[in-house]
Symmetry: C2
Subunit: 127 residues, 2 copies
DNA sequence: ATAACTGTAATAGTAATGTTAATACAGATA
DNA sequence: TATCTGTATTAACATTACTATTACAGTTAT
């Protein structure tokens, strides 16, 4: 569920943050659902507990989870603004790529084809 | 022309490589055109000559430029396969983002709107 | 030929950052 | 009481990018 790339330039804790954000926004993780404990997740992923804690701390700062000392970390109940935030961020990224694409001569039609091919892959369950 | 972000996670030499690649593919830099010397570019950007050299070396390895010791570094005369490579890479990136976008509920129409807005900006000379 | 450019090379040092390791303490719970 | 949980702290390690410095050789113009 949480696949990490230890050789990546982006640090492990940040990969974790992004992956877990994703799960929360996609509502794979539900409100108030408990996350794996710092230690258990660390041993499962065979990385240091400090790294997990750093990720959880960051998620808490960003309002995605809340923690109860002694009990655990839980999914925060907000999700609406967060989703909008995410959508806007994604759109900005898309615009950046589209700009470059246009300069490289990629047409609107080609972009639509890309959309369709991805959409098809999803429907066929290949993702 | 070459704007660097020293605070970025991606290293300076790699930013340089990408920017210069871009200029070559867009044919802003023409075949056999001489690039700034290692030392002059270094002093212009106020970074170390070694960093420039590392970028040039990388560009040479990737076939974008060639160097003549004692003379300088020059734009290589290939550009066709390189452009295709770049386009394909960009399309892969786009697919990745589109996949995420679909999961977040972004429609094909919204994507088209993004394309149009970027296109409009270009035409209006805002880019 | 000399000076002033070019690229290339090697080495050492510095700085930042992520990660690990080891402990410790306190709240929660069975 | 034992065993979970989160939290905190400190030190050490590893990697990497970048800088600094010096040196050598080819090119070119004066």
């Amino acid at each position: 569920m949480l696949e990490l790339d230890v050789k990546s330039r982006v640090p492990i804790y940040e990969q974790l943050v992004e992956k877990i954000k994703e799960l929360i926004i996609m509502e794979v993780l539900k409100e108030h659902e408990q996350l794996p404990s710092v230690r258990s997740l660390a041993s499962e992923l065979t990385i240091n507990p400090n790294t997990i804690q750093k990720a959880y701390r960051e998620l808490e700062n960003q309002g995605y989870i809340y923690s109860i000392p002694g009990k655990g970390n839980f999914v925060a109940p907000i999700n609406k603004n967060k989703k909008l935030e995410k959508v806007n961020k994604l759109k900005e990224e898309l615009k950046r790529l589209i700009l470059e694409a246009i300069y490289l001569g990629i047409t609107k039609e080609e972009l639509m084809e890309l959309y369709d091919s991805v959409n098809k892959e999803i429907k066929e369950g290949r993702r």
